[in-house]
């Protein structure tokens, strides 16, 4: 018997909370103490002189303005490399929507005392790719990067900034509420089917190095991994190797036979 796998969820929750606190506190620090070392949120973030730019927004800006700006490309580099090697980890380990969804899940768990919440609506997973293509096409037709109007990870940060700086809330915040309501209807519905950023990161991470690998010899086919997966993937069918998997490590944690482990895949 191998040793039981690491419990990733506590680490993930800590990372999510830290990422959320980062965007919660920095506008306040910026406003009152002119602390500009860390600035911005998950559309564009700077730590010192290190820049991060959300790849989808950057790509749309390049496509719609038909011009390339060097610093933008450099800013997109780290998120793209992260997705290239680790897959869609931004979604499960950093995204503030993920944090809020986990918070909602936790509250629901406290109320209902059920371990797993059933999925409400199940659609074809390919919708995710159509969301990405449709998004980029629509942005090109309109001539403005429209993901920014409905980009929930960026909007959360912007709303927090609006509240701290101007004591108002922008109307776009409705999008965040809609996304969270969708999560109430069906687990991670927006993330699974409609998030273009998630789709782009999944596309970049198709050949990712870090994968959740299942050992069919150890598997006792209890099906608990499918129940626990926030994306509704079934590791028993090998769906953990599909581009949709966002490497949250939840299935590995619940697996009683410890048949699921993170593996650094060699090329």
């Amino acid at each position: 018997m191998k040793k039981p796998p690491t419990r990733y969820t506590p680490i993930r929750i800590i990372t999510l909370t830290a990422a959320f606190l980062l965007i919660l506190i920095t506008p306040y620090l910026n406003m009152h103490f002119h602390f500009s070392f860390i600035q911005g949120w998950f559309q564009s973030l700077s730590i010192g002189n290190l820049w991060f730019v959300s790849p989808l927004e950057g790509l749309e800006s390049i496509l719609t303005s038909r011009s390339i700006y060097g610093p933008l490309l450099v800013g997109m580099l780290i998120p793209i490399l992260l997705a290239l090697f680790l897959g869609r980890v931004f979604c499960s380990w950093i995204c503030p929507i993920s944090f809020l969804s986990e918070l909602i899940d936790w509250i629901i768990k406290l109320i209902t005392k059920k371990k797993f919440r059933p999925f409400g609506i199940k659609l074809s997973r390919r919708i995710l790719w159509f969301a990405l293509i449709g998004e980029i096409l629509l942005a090109l037709i309109i001539g403005a990067p429209i993901f920014v109007f409905l980009s929930p990870p960026g909007l959360v940060g912007r709303e927090i900034m609006m509240v701290t700086l101007f004591k108002t809330v922008a109307i776009e915040g409705v999008v965040v509420i809609v996304v969270l309501l969708m999560h109430l209807v069906s687990k991670r519905m927006f993330c699974r089917y409609f998030c273009p950023l998630g789709a782009l990161l999944a596309l970049i991470g198709i050949k990712r190095r870090l994968v959740m690998k299942s050992d069919p010899d150890q598997c006792i086919e209890c099906g608990i991994c499918k129940k626990s997966c926030p994306l509704g993937l079934d590791p028993q069918k090998g769906e953990n190797l599909s581009p949709y998997c966002w490497n949250c490590g939840k299935c590995s944690e619940v697996c009683k036979a410890s048949a699921l482990r993170f593996v650094w895949k060699d090329l």
């Binding site: 500009s36 800006s61 303005s65 038909r66 700006y69 610093p71 309109i142 920014v148 940060g157 776009e172």
Partner: protein, 221 residues
């Protein structure tokens, strides 16, 4: 039906009868404006087919170093970094009601002018605000309304607030026999003079206004 009659009679009683179709008209009006809003959402340039024009106008300007309005909405990713970094809270983001211009930053110089600290141009990740120097900033051009300005329209008035507040005194603004004159070659359009001007005209403008003449240059590829 009963309710409607009651309402009508009530109106008659109070003495100002409302036309029965007023509410309908209001509904149509709001529907129409909603339609215009959605049409505006899909149009980029203020041309023949578009109903949504750029929000940039007199005294409502883009932050320093902004690219022309032609490509501003397509280049800006609305991350709001310039809004966050502005120490004077002069830069404000638009909300979704502005169609394609939603989320883009604006400086309302009448309320809070730009103090040219040049922090916003350094943080812009997309190059929508290009990193430039203070004196290269061209947010617009200050124009004095000689009919409204007290030193120009009145004989014995002494006001030189715009001259006093200008960060490029004796360069961008000079005094010609105690009357202010703008030198267009050096004016940055920061709007400090607009903010300081004491005269407010009937149409809401000041005696000195910043016109965004540089924002509407066309872009050549």
């Amino acid at each position: 039906m009963k309710l409607k009659n009651k309402k009508l009679s009530k109106n008659k009683k109070s003495g100002n009868p409302l036309p029965a179709d007023q509410s309908k008209r209001l509904l149509l009006k709001s529907l129409g404006s909603a339609g215009i809003f959605f049409l505006g959402l899909s149009s980029k340039k203020a041309g023949a087919f578009s109903l949504k024009a750029s929000p940039v106008k007199t005294n409502v300007l883009r932050p320093p170093g902004a690219v022309p309005e032609d490509i501003f909405p397509s280049k800006c990713i609305r991350c709001g970094r310039c809004v966050e970094v502005c120490p004077y809270k002069a830069i404000r983001p638009l909300d979704i009601r502005s169609g394609v211009y939603a989320g883009t930053p604006l400086v309302f110089v009448e309320e809070i002018p730009c103090y040219l600290c040049m922090k916003c141009v350094e943080v812009c990740p997309t190059g929508t605000l290009r990193p430039i120097n203070q004196d290269e900033t061209r947010m617009g051009l200050a124009v004095i309304d000689k009919h409204a300005c007290v030193t120009w329209s009145q004989e014995l008035a002494l006001c030189r607030t715009c001259y006093n507040v200008c960060p490029f005194k004796e360069k961008a603004i000079k005094l010609d026999e105690l009357r202010p004159v703008i030198i267009d070659k050096y004016c940055t359009g920061c709007g400090l003079c607009v903010h300081g001007c004491q005269v407010t005209q009937k149409n809401g403008k000041k005696a000195i206004n910043v016109e965004p003449i540089y924002a509407f240059r066309t872009v050549k590829w």
